[in-house]
Symmetry: C2
Subunit: 497 residues, 2 copies
């Protein structure tokens, strides 16, 4: 141990230990959603709560504060310095709040979430009004305290939990640009798109869907020596070092839905597997936040795989997987037409690529207003419906298809929504930069060759982990800051050309 970095080294030791516990929790979380027998759920919840408390106590162990201060006086190279910055971020988020507030918030969230599970199917917003108001009250308090600790505005402190160092001011500008563009663009796309076309009809046996998914994961560069594909009710990507686990849900009537979901999660997994091995177990070695993470899934799904080039590669292989060779409809044009259908709809998770950002912008505006105190819970349904009319031109017939649809707020998740669309914008901008660097990129992808794209992402995104901000990653990878124009270019090219 270098005696000049004693405090820093001790922090590395402690964070490595915490990281191992965090990895264990991630694997058990995977198990909960894929393998756990139903009856184990209550015992499992208690176990996870206990592990979370343990991790929190390790992070807020009294010596940590002094070690962070002492390490700041030590001579550290760039990555160690960044690591120390990320350690402090973790510590501030964990230690800023009094334990009583954390506990009250956690109780309020689980009470509210339980009510929401009843309220949503019944479209009964009145039922969640009081518990959501309580969650909001506590979240505002948390945002204020964390904002003071981090030196930023309250809502920015919530963003920082998911998208470190991002600020509402920057998102405001990006979303204002995109929000102004979308309604007109949407009108033009829906006006010009041909009548709905149906793709190949099922049933598509699950075993064949799985085999096709595995094969396409390998095409993208996923190495099954270091990961798995399983099933779960809600698809996700998780795992531990050298152990990337993604899941999907199969629909016998629609193979594209599961397949595109698998390719999306494969993008997340390739990011995790591409993080630098030397910094495993340290905060600086983690993925850079949810926006960048989402960009890695969307660059695979939306930029690479939903393009006509890849669909031309996919079509005959899919036909073969389902033993439907020679039938009509197994061609790039049909798959593209089906996959690119644009239609304003009420539910975010069913939305297409064009309308999805409108859903996110709406939620972003509303949650910022809720945290800022310009909007109260009682006014949420009306504000929601007004926003839907403005951005998508439709008004949900009830709150089930309106402000009750997403779990996020009811479970205390404020500050997460913008990541989805920041990810989509980042994906478009990164893909355009990769194409500039490698003019043959799209023809390679159309031939099922992803190595160039993955290597470019490793060099410019994965390998940087959390050593710099998301903004720096984007600037240095693409030559400029995140810019809505790039995403608009992508949409125009895909839907109007």
């Amino acid at each position: 141990m270098n005696t000049n970095t004693t405090a820093y080294s001790e922090l590395e030791r402690r964070f490595a230990r915490m990281s191992h516990l965090g990895d264990a929790m991630a694997l058990i979380g995977w198990d909960t959603q894929t393998m756990m027998p139903e009856g184990a759920a209550p015992a499992r919840a208690r176990m996870m709560a206990s592990l979370r408390t343990q991790l929190h106590e390790m992070l807020t162990d009294p010596p940590v504060k002094g070690l962070l201060g002492a390490a700041e006086g030590e001579s550290l190279d760039e990555w160690r310095h960044a690591n120390l910055r990320e350690m402090r971020r973790d510590w501030v988020h964990a230690s800023a709040l009094p334990a009583s507030l954390v506990e009250a918030h956690s109780r309020a969230c689980s009470a509210c979430e339980q009510e929401w599970r009843q309220a949503r199917p019944a479209a009964d917003f009145a039922r969640v009004r009081a518990p959501l108001a309580e969650v909001l009250r506590l979240t505002r308090e948390i945002a204020k305290i964390k904002g003071q600790a981090l030196g930023c505005a309250p809502y920015d402190a919530l963003l920082d939990q998911y998208e470190p160092d991002s600020r509402a001011q920057r998102i405001d500008a990006l979303f204002a640009d995109l929000g102004a563009f979308l309604p007109g663009f949407l009108a033009e796309v829906t006006r010009r798109q041909p009548a709905a076309k149906s793709g190949p009809l099922g049933p598509f046996p699950i075993q064949s869907q799985r085999a096709l998914g595995l094969a396409m994961m390998e095409v993208l560069g996923f190495d099954f020596h270091f990961g798995r594909l399983d099933e779960s009710r809600h698809p996700f990507s998780s795992g531990a070092p050298d152990d990337a686990r993604i899941t999907t849900r199969y629909d016998e009537a629609d193979f594209m839905r599961s397949l595109m979901g698998v390719l999306h999660e494969t993008g997340h997994a390739l990011y995790e597997l591409g993080l630098p091995k030397d910094w495993r177990g340290q905060p600086v070695g983690r993925a850079r936040g949810m926006g960048v993470h989402e960009s890695q899934s969307l660059i695979m799904e939306m930029q690479a795989c939903r393009a006509k080039g890849f669909l031309g590669f996919l079509a005959p292989r899919a036909a073969q997987a389902f033993a439907r060779d020679g039938e009509a409809g197994w061609d790039a044009e049909t798959l593209f037409a089906v996959s690119m259908r644009v239609q304003p709809s009420f539910i975010r998770t069913d939305a297409d690529e064009v309308t999805y950002p409108a859903h996110v912008i709406l939620r972003y505006r509303l949650e910022k207003a809720l945290i800022g105190g310009e909007l109260e819970v009682a006014g949420l349904p009306e504000a929601w419906n007004r926003g839907m009319r403005e951005l998508l031109g439709i008004v949900p017939p009830d709150d089930r298809r309106g402000c009750l649809q997403d779990i996020h707020w009811y479970d205390g998740g404020f500050g997460y929504f913008p990541c989805y669309t920041l990810g989509a914008m980042t994906a478009a901008q990164l893909f355009q930069a990769a194409r500039r660097a490698h003019p043959a990129l799209e023809s390679e992808i159309a031939a099922g060759k992803f190595a160039t794209l993955v290597e470019w992402l490793r060099a410019h995104v994965h390998g940087r982990a959390s050593s710099v901000s998301a903004d720096t990653i984007v600037r240095e990878a693409t030559g400029g800051p995140l810019d809505a124009e790039k995403f608009k270019t992508h949409l125009r090219h895909r839907y109007l050309s």
Copy 2:
């Protein structure tokens, strides 16, 4: 909190936290053997080592010693008192040794185990002689120190890790009795048994074997709301509260091997699922040790399921599972004849019910002599072969089929072997007591009804957890101490009647 049990309550809180971490480690251990992608193995090993260190630090945290002392002055009811005794046992085993010795032992074991993996297939005992001598040297030191801390002989301190409170003196007497009986009994059985008979011939498709295994698990009373059956290279039983996980390995040529293994592991799982819910997460709520655990698997496999009664229930269901209804050989007599074949052999894990205890008695005698200093590593092969001749009348042609066959010693596992045969003896004695209490027991089992047996075990074994010693469990369940005569009666009845 009762102010009279402040220290005790604090210990309960701490042990609950440790238990949750232990459960997490058990689930991840399950994952390692069933789900983990191969490439994750090195990272997984580091994660597990880190979690083990964390758990060890929690157990040996300085305040624990004082809390144990203070709690002994508090007024505790019977179970809390027993819980405190088990907490102290955990603590003594964890804290008796200096960290340097634990580490040296751990390093010596993994070095020796690695050599053993090369030495076994090559039948090259010379290769492991030095590393095993080092493991033995350190194990003797550990045994001596733990013996002083526990107030028992060194070898007893090793036994105590697996079979709490058991003593070599008692095992000596039991094994002397059985060891004197076995050679003559074996000669008589092999002389009288008919010529080898072959059972139904495969292949038996794995899917059908799995379906039959699941069905028979349900017959025994396994509730899949609280558990799973999976595949692994080495079958085992593991899990967490309300979450029993057993595994098997399928052989397409032999369905009985996997099926009987599944029923064996189901016995382990029913024990875990039957532990008292009120004492979950506390040391007193755990299973009572490896001997009792083995008795619960063997009571299902050997006492209940390999009996002609159950085989008569199984035979037509197995025939149906493999779509072989109406073919010859699918009857209790044939399955029994195949399953009861006795034949001295070199490898313990392939041994039948009659010769298995001879393997265990040999290992017990040798490991006791090794720890006691009457035998050194250099003399092991010769002592092994002499014992095989004496107990089984055969001498292995090489050390691969002799003293190199089991991983236990090479990985530092001294004191475990006797549990296998203590379990077999306990199973026989418990079964005979259950039959006395319920004269219809065997006819119920022959009709596929296990509720009476399982309820009896819940009341007399499972529900007692670690509140009393294994000896007390046996005495109170059967009316007397563990007695080799009961096992001999079982063997005589099954093999000579």
